[in-house]
């Protein structure tokens, strides 16, 4: 066993968030190991997006710790100074939004969108930035001649793939995804899932994927967490949870999937 596998990449302990008197998510704890993909499923309003925002540092939780492996030691990201946290967001972390518009600069060309993270960490050679951007556009199957077009001229699926390229270009170790396939039609979804699965396996990424689509987690996730009313009601290996659901809500969720 290598040293990297002796401790988790991300350790979450007792994360709780209230919206006034109402519970957003309550007392969530789990470990995420390097190279592992974790799925979080649940119905709308179950607190899965709140949890993801708390983990990614977009929302301050009321209680709990989110420890991330920084240079070999686990550090509570909620205690990091703001420059350290923003650096983490530019380098080791990535966030794929449900709506590509939230994660892209719509007034900047596709190449510029991908290059932004490189320039943010100090790349100052135009030729190198451009060739890396071209390489990543190619990997997410965006044609090279679209490189100088703005994302406003792209279809929904292309925008989502562009957002993924923009996030992965700096080689992050942990990717947060909020409904990455939401709002796309099924054939485009299938392509995007294929692409994501390839990239995750190839780069050895760890990822946390929030979705309400069980097919997505079946394809991508190693482990699964089921949430209801802000609480985790069941977690385990994906196939185990989906094929032999124990909790009543999970059983309902699995049986609700339409069979074609």
């Amino acid at each position: 066993m290598t040293a990297a596998l002796e401790q988790p990449l991300l350790q979450v302990r007792g994360v709780t968030k209230h919206y006034g008197a109402r519970l957003g998510c309550g007392d969530v704890s789990f470990d995420l190991w390097p190279g592992e993909v974790m799925g979080i499923v649940g119905e709308s309003g179950s607190g899965k997006s709140t949890l993801l925002s708390c983990l990614a540092g977009h929302l301050p939780p009321d209680a709990g710790e989110v420890r991330f492996d920084v240079d070999g030691s686990l550090r509570d990201t909620l205690q990091l100074t703001e420059p350290e946290r923003r650096r983490l967001h530019r380098t080791d972390w990535a966030f794929v939004h449900q709506h590509a518009r939230d994660g892209l600069r719509m007034g900047v060309s596709a190449g510029g969108n991908v290059g932004e993270r490189l320039m943010a960490i100090g790349a100052r050679n135009y030729g190198e930035i451009r060739s890396q951007a071209a390489d990543w556009l190619n990997r997410v199957e965006i044609a090279a001649e679209r490189m100088d077009d703005r994302p406003t001229a792209f279809s929904g699926g292309m925008q989502q793939r562009l957002q993924i390229a923009r996030n992965l270009v700096t080689g992050p170790r942990l990717v947060f995804m909020d409904e990455p396939t939401g709002g796309l039609d099924v054939s485009v979804q299938a392509r995007l899932l294929d692409l994501l699965r390839g990239l995750v396996r190839e780069m050895g990424l760890s990822a946390i994927i929030v979705t309400h689509d069980l097919a997505v987690v079946r394809l991508l996730a190693d482990r699964l967490m089921v949430m209801k009313d802000g609480r985790v009601v069941e977690q385990g290996l994906t196939d185990q949870v989906l094929d032999d659901p124990q909790h009543g809500y999970t059983q309902l969720l699995v049986s609700s999937v339409l069979q074609v």
């Binding site: 190449g111 290059g115 943010a120 050679n125 135009y126 490189m147």
Partner: protein, 285 residues
């Protein structure tokens, strides 16, 4: 109201103290935008209300003031601001760069090199260099505080991707002493190398309520890429009136058949050269 009923240089003494404090802070932190309580001035926003307030706070009775607008001493904006201070402060005025102790400028740096002891006051429309990329003021302040300037290069990247070269020709962003990224006001990028100067340079933005400053001999670097270095470009002609080949030129359309001529935008510099006997193709013999 007659001229002697104005306080010296129009503004009241408390306001001038407040502006001087902002100027001193700006000089202490070169390139940092200091907020100040900008006053209503008897002129519209966009006509130099920021520059006028900085000049008013800096003037003393034995100063000699020069005002230029796009390099020229004789355009509306320059003439009216010069008259304004002649009337409200009673200071001496001049059109010669070498004789002036304070120069208020709109969008140019004089061709004649400035010397120690002179003060150059810029009129600034939008002081925030990141504004067109990031509309949130809270975010741009944070970016300045944490030195996150990658976004500025995204703008230059877009220029090259679209035009093959950095097409930003004015208000070209600079980094001051390796720290703050600053908008040098809409001067042509031809003037950027002159920002490293023995004179004090003060920038006033009236509507946006910001003052920033460059102390003498401050390092000012124009941003660029390693493989697309900064180029202070200039129209490739001599001045038609004085024959200068080292000055920034205005293009003047002379007829509707494509006729044009190029002449110095700095009227004082052009005049000095003509007085010294230089002539161009269109100059009077």
């Amino acid at each position: 109201m007659t001229a002697d009923q104005y306080n010296f240089a129009y503004l009241d003494e408390q306001t001038k103290r407040m502006i001087r404090r902002a100027i001193l802070k700006g000089l202490a932190v070169p390139g940092y935008q200091v907020p100040f309580a900008s006053r209503e001035m008897p002129m519209p926003y966009g006509w130099g209300t920021g520059g006028v307030q900085v000049t008013a706070a800096t003037l003393v009775p034995d100063d000699r003031l020069k005002v230029i607008d796009q390099g020229a001493d004789d355009t509306t904006n320059a003439v009216s601001i010069r008259k304004f201070f002649e009337r409200t402060a009673g200071v001496a005025v001049t059109e010669a760069t070498t004789e002036a102790s304070i120069i208020q400028t709109r969008h140019r740096i004089p061709e004649t090199p400035l010397r120690e002891g002179q003060i150059l006051v810029y009129q600034v429309p939008i002081p925030e260099p990141l504004r067109f990329l990031e509309p949130r003021e809270t975010e741009t302040r944070k970016m300045h505080a944490l030195e996150e300037y990658g976004l500025m290069h995204v703008k230059l990247y877009e220029d090259i991707a679209r035009h093959g070269t950095i097409a930003t020709a004015y208000a070209y962003p600079v980094q001051v002493e390796g720290r703050y990224v600053m908008d040098p006001s809409p001067i042509p990028k031809f003037d950027n190398p002159k920002l490293e100067s023995p004179a004090i340079q003060l920038f006033g933005a009236g509507r946006e309520q910001r003052i920033y400053a460059l102390p003498p001999y401050t390092q000012v670097v124009s941003l660029d890429f390693e493989d697309h270095p900064f180029d202070p470009s200039r129209a490739d002609y001599p001045c038609a009136v004085c024959g200068a080949v080292d000055s920034y030129l205005d293009e003047v359309i002379t007829d509707d058949a494509g006729g044009r001529m190029f002449l110095c935008s700095d009227t004082d510099y052009c005049g000095q050269r003509q007085a010294a006997g230089h002539t161009g193709t269109e100059g009077a013999p």
